[in-house]
C-alpha cells in the first residue's frame, strides 16, 4: 500500500491536559481523509502537528517514510487552508495567491500562468485585482484554497474550511471540494466536527474523542458498524440500548430476543446494541412482528417522519419512516438481523483506586467517601461502583466532589452520563433524571439506588 503519511504513537499535552494520546494512523496517497470529532477532541492539534506548527511530545510523523519532526513548517511539502482563511488583508487576490510562488522565486510569467489556472479551478477568474476584504465568505474560502493548491503541495490540510459558511453554501462547497480533490489527485486531510460533511466528502473517516482515535473506516463502515456508543451517537441518529448476547447470532434487548449477525462475543455477555432509526420497520403481518409499541410522537422532518414509540416493555425508541403513524396508535415492529449492530461494552462499572481512611471512610479521587470497607486504615483498595450507585445533586454543596456533565447517551429507558470531575477524572452514571451537557453537579454515592453492591477489594490482591 502506498502510504504518504504515517503517524506512530503520537502524544501531545498542553500543560497537564493530554490532548492526544497514542495516535496511530496512516494516510494513503491521494485519499480524502477526515479527522472527525467534537470540539476539543484533538483533531485540530493533530492537523497542526502535521503542518509543523506544533511539535509532538512523543511519537513520530513520517512523510514518504521520512521523519518530519525536525523539518520546519515552511519546508514541509504541504499547505493549509485555515479555518478563518487567514488571507493577507494587505494584499489583493493575485498577490495572496502568488505569495508562495514569489517566495520560491518562480519566474513572473510562470506565476501569472499558475495563478490564472487556480483561479479558474476555484471559479474565481476576473477577481485578481480585488481586495480580499471585499470578498464574501464563500469567495474568500475559494481564494484560500487557491492560495494553497497553487504551490502544488503533496498534501492539502483543511482545518474546518466550511465552518463559517451558511448551510446552502456549505453543501455547494462540499461538492466542489470533492471534485477538486478528484481533479488534483493530491491527498486531502480534512478536519471537521460536522459528521454529515465527513460522511459526504471522505474516503476514510477517523473519529476522534478525548484525544484518542475511536474508529477508522470508510463512511459506510463508520455509519453501519460503529465500534462504540460514542461513535454510534456522534454519527447520525441512533437508538443505543443495553443488551445481552445470548449466544452467537442471538441478542436480547428491550426485553425481547432478536436474531443478529454478530458472533464471537461469548454466551450471556453484556453488550451495547445500536439500531438506526431507519432500520426499525412497521408491519401489519403478525408473523413478522417482533414487538409491539405505541406511537408517542410523530414529527415531519422533510424527507421522512420521525416518530418516538413506547415499546410494550417500557423502552422508548426513535423510528424514521416515510409514512406517518398517528400518535396513540398501536403498531407492530420488526428489525432485520443485518441492521442490529452489537458492540462490546466499554465498561461494566466505575473502577476507582483509593485508600481506606478509617472504618467508615475510603479516600477516592482525593475526597473522603463514606464506605465501609472492612480493611485496616491505609490499605490500598480497588472500588467498583455500579453506574446506578452514583448520585448527582443539583446543589454542588450536597456532593462530596464536583463535576460537569460531559456526555449524555439516552439508552431507551434511562440516561447514561459521563461526568468529568473537577480534577479531570471520569465517572459514569445511570440515571432517570434529565441533565444537560455542561451542567455542574455535586457527586456522592447512594448504594441503595443500585441492585448491585459497591465492591471493595484489596488492590494488591487484584494484581496477583
Amino acid at each position: 500500500m502506498d502510504k504518504i503519511i504515517e503517524i506512530k504513537n503520537l502524544s501531545k499535552s498542553f500543560g497537564d491536559k493530554k490532548v492526544l494520546e497514542d495516535i496511530n494512523l496512516y494516510i494513503r496517497r491521494g485519499e480524502f481523509i477526515t479527522l472527525l470529532g467534537p470540539s476539543g477532541c484533538g483533531k485540530t492539534t493533530l492537523l497542526r502537528m502535521i503542518a509543523g506548527f506544533l511539535q509532538p511530545d512523543e511519537g513520530s510523523i513520517l512523510m514518504d517514510g521520512k521523519e518530519l519532526a525536525g523539518v520546519p513548517p515552511h519546508e514541509r511539502p504541504l499547505n493549509t487552508v485555515f479555518q478563518r482563511y487567514a488571507l493577507f488583508p494587505h494584499l489583493d487576490v493575485y498577490d495572496n495567491i502568488a505569495f508562495g510562488l514569489k517566495l520560491k522565486k518562480v519566474p513572473e510569467e510562470e506565476i501569472e500562468k499558475r495563478v490564472r489556472r487556480v483561479l479558474k479551478l476555484v471559479a474565481m477568474s476576473d477577481y485578481e485585482d480585488r481586495d480580499v476584504e471585499t470578498l464574501s465568505g464563500g469567495q474568500q474560502q475559494r481564494i484560500a484554497i487557491a492560495r494553497a493548491i497553487v504551490n502544488q503541495p503533496k498534501v492539502l490540510l483543511l482545518d474546518e474550511p466550511l465552518a463559517a459558511l451558511d448551510l446552502k453554501m456549505r453543501k455547494d462547497m462540499q461538492i466542489e471540494l470533492k471534485e477538486m480533490h478528484k481533479k488534483l489527485g493530491i491527498t486531502f486531510i480534512y478536519v471537521t466536527h460536522d459528521q454529515e460533511e465527513a460522511l459526504t466528502l471522505s474516503d476514510t473517516v477517523v473519529v476522534l474523542n478525548e484525544g484518542r482515535i475511536q474508529q477508522i473506516g470508510t463512511p459506510v463502515d463508520i455509519y453501519n458498524e460503529p465500534v462504540n456508543c460514542f461513535v454510534a451517537d456522534f454519527i447520525g441518529e441512533s437508538n443505543i440500548l443495553k443488551g445481552r448476547m445470548i449466544r452467537d447470532r442471538r441478542v436480547a434487548f428491550i426485553k425481547h430476543e432478536f436474531d443478529c449477525v454478530d458472533e464471537g462475543f461469548g454466551e450471556d455477555v453484556k453488550v451495547d446494541v445500536v439500531v438506526r432509526p431507519e432500520d426499525i420497520y412497521f408491519t401489519t403481518d403478525p408473523a413478522k412482528c417482533q414487538f409491539k409499541a405505541k406511537v408517542n410522537s410523530c414529527i415531519f422532518k422533510g424527507v421522512h417522519y420521525e416518530m418516538w414509540v413506547d415499546t410494550d416493555t417500557g423502552y422508548e425508541l426513535m423510528i424514521q419512516d416515510y409514512d406517518p403513524y398517528p400518535v396513540g396508535s398501536e403498531v407492530m415492529l420488526y428489525i432485520d438481523p443485518d441492521d442490529i449492530q452489537v458492540m462490546k461494552k466499554e465498561r461494566l462499572c466505575n473502577t476507582l483506586y483509593g485508600t481506606v481512611k478509617d472504618a467508615e471512610t475510603v479516600t477516592l479521587l482525593d475526597a473522603d467517601f463514606p464506605l465501609k470497607s472492612g480493611f485496616e486504615p491505609g490499605t490500598e483498595v480497588k472500588v467498583e461502583i455500579p453506574f446506578e450507585a452514583v448520585d448527582l445533586m443539583d446543589n454542588l454543596d450536597d456532593g462530596i466532589i464536583d463535576g460537569e456533565v460531559h456526555f449524555i447517551l439516552y439508552m431507551g429507558d434511562h440516561y447514561h452520563l459521563t461526568i468529568k470531575t473537577d480534577d479531570g477524572d471520569f465517572l459514569w452514571v445511570d440515571t432517570n433524571d434529565i441533565w444537560d451537557k455542561g451542567d455542574l453537579v455535586g457527586i456522592r454515592l447512594n448504594p441503595e439506588n443500585s441492585k448491585k453492591e459497591i465492591k471493595i477489594t484489596k488492590k494488591d490482591e487484584q494484581a496477583q
Binding site: P73, H74, T80, A86, L103, A148
Partner: protein, 255 residues
C-alpha cells in the same frame, strides 16, 4: 427636557470654553499686532527670523530622530510583549507602561540629575535619551495593541506557504501592524515638536526647541508673535495627522 442629547450640553460647553475658544484666540492673536490691528507681520517675522527658522529645523530634526529611535526600540519591545511565548504575564506590560504614571517633569529632572552625577555633559545625546525615555511607552502601547490582537494565523499562513519566520515577519506581521506604528508616530512626533521642558532640563537650554521659543515669547509678553509660532506648529501637527487619513485602519491602534 429629558432628551438624551441634552446630556451632552456640559461637554459641549467644556469644549467651547477649553478647546475651541483658546484655538480661536491663538488664531486671533497670531494675526494681530500689539495694538490689536490685523497684520501678517508676525508670520512674516518668523519666516525671516533666521534664529527662529533654525530652531524650527532643529525641532523637526530632533522630533524625527526621537520618533525613529522610538520605533527602533519600541517595535521589538512591543513584539516581545505581544508574543505569549516570551511574555507569559501581563505584569511586564504594566512595567513598561508604569513610567507613564509618574509626572514627565519629575522623570526628566531626575534623569538630568543622574547625568550630572555621572559627569556626562548635557547636550544632544542626553536630550534624545530623555525624549526616548519619556515617549517610548507611547510608541510601544499602540504597536503592542495591534500585535496582540492580530490573528496568529496570518503569520502561520505565511510560514505554511514557504516563508521563513523572518520573511513572514517582514512580509506579513510588519505591514499588518502599520496602523499601530502610525498611531505611535502621531503620539510621539507631535508632542516632541512642541516640548520645551525636556530640552531645558536635559541640555541646560543649550539646545532650543520650537516649544522653547513659544514659551519664551509668551513669558516675555510677546503674545502675538508667540501665538503666530503656535499657529505654525498647529499647521505642522495638522499635516502629520493627514498621514493617518485612513481612519478605518486605525481601528485597534490607539486603545
Amino acid at each position: 427636557m429629558s432628551k438624551r442629547s441634552n446630556w451632552s450640553i456640559p461637554y459641549a460647553i467644556f469644549l467651547v470654553f477649553f478647546v475651541v475658544l483658546p484655538l480661536v484666540l491663538v488664531m486671533v492673536y497670531a494675526f494681530q499686532d500689539s495694538q490689536g490691528h490685523f497684520t501678517l507681520g508676525n508670520l512674516a517675522k518668523f519666516f525671516t527670523d533666521k534664529d527662529a527658522l533654525s530652531t524650527f529645523a532643529v525641532s523637526i530634526e530632533v522630533a524625527l530622530e526621537n520618533t525613529a529611535l522610538c520605533i527602533l526600540l519600541g517595535y521589538p519591545a512591543a513584539w516581545i510583549l505581544a508574543n505569549k511565548q516570551y511574555n507569559k504575564s501581563a505584569v511586564t506590560i504594566v512595567l513598561f507602561i508604569m513610567p507613564m504614571w509618574i509626572n514627565a517633569l519629575m522623570r526628566t529632572l531626575a534623569t538630568a540629575q543622574l547625568f550630572t552625577m555621572l559627569g556626562i555633559t548635557l547636550g544632544k545625546g542626553t536630550l534624545l535619551f530623555g525624549m526616548v525615555y519619556d515617549y517610548l511607552p507611547f510608541m510601544i502601547y499602540p504597536i503592542y495593541n495591534v500585535l496582540a490582537k492580530m490573528d496568529k494565523s496570518y503569520a502561520e499562513a505565511a510560514v505554511d506557504l514557504g516563508a521563513t519566520p523572518w520573511t513572514a515577519f517582514w512580509k506579513v506581521t510588519v505591514p499588518l501592524s502599520m496602523p499601530g506604528v502610525t498611531s505611535g508616530i502621531l503620539m510621539v512626533f507631535m508632542p516632541t515638536v512642541s516640548t520645551f521642558a525636556i530640552s531645558e532640563f536635559l541640555t541646560n537650554n543649550k539646545i532650543k526647541l520650537f516649544g522653547t521659543i513659544i514659551q519664551e515669547n509668551i513669558n516675555s509678553s510677546m503674545w502675538n508673535y508667540g501665538a503666530a509660532l503656535a499657529f505654525v506648529m498647529l499647521i505642522i501637527i495638522g499635516i502629520t495627522t493627514l498621514f493617518d487619513k485612513d481612519k478605518e485602519q486605525l481601528e485597534g491602534g490607539l486603545i
